[in-house]
Symmetry: C2
Subunit: 109 residues, 2 copies
Amino acid sequence: MSADEWSKSEKGIARRAFDLAYARECKAIEEELKKRVSELHDPKDLWSLHSYLSHRLRETERKYDYRYSVLISVFAGLLHNGRLAIEDISGLSGEKIEAIKRIAEFLDE
Amino acid sequence: MSADEWSKSEKGIARRAFDLAYARECKAIEEELKKRVSELHDPKDLWSLHSYLSHRLRETERKYDYRYSVLISVFAGLLHNGRLAIEDISGLSGEKIEAIKRIAEFLDE
């Protein structure tokens, strides 16, 4: 399959990888939130905490875009920031894997 | 002093009572936040938590308005919702205390 076309099996792999990365992202936000909540000691910290959460949730909404037209770049970004490993997308066509790795390496630089 | 004029001593009492109520308000938000964070178990809970925090902080900003022109109503509201006790504003003129109690009782009904 080319980088533009997604077979039924690839769609299944993509969906699972996407959901896995999303769950990891939410877990990371949750962990950071728990840490920050345990460190609260001034009323104004509540406002900083709120800003932090607003920022992370907005960023997450933006980043997790499950449209096949952008999924290659999305996966590259998730590989780049460690939410996905290459094993998590194993089963996608060689062409897609190569495209994802190429963009991820570009982001790593 | 009438309900419209504030002596220097009353301003001191008002400021302390206001700050005390504000600290109690933030403490209550913090406690509720800690409880909700400890109960997180689904990614979408992060969004509910964020909505809760947005709502409470917005409400707090709106409620804690330290302008002498509105302070009687502000204190009545804080008495009504338990953030202040009548002892916390002791020292204000009888006229102010009466006005505050009257509005608080109206809110209680």
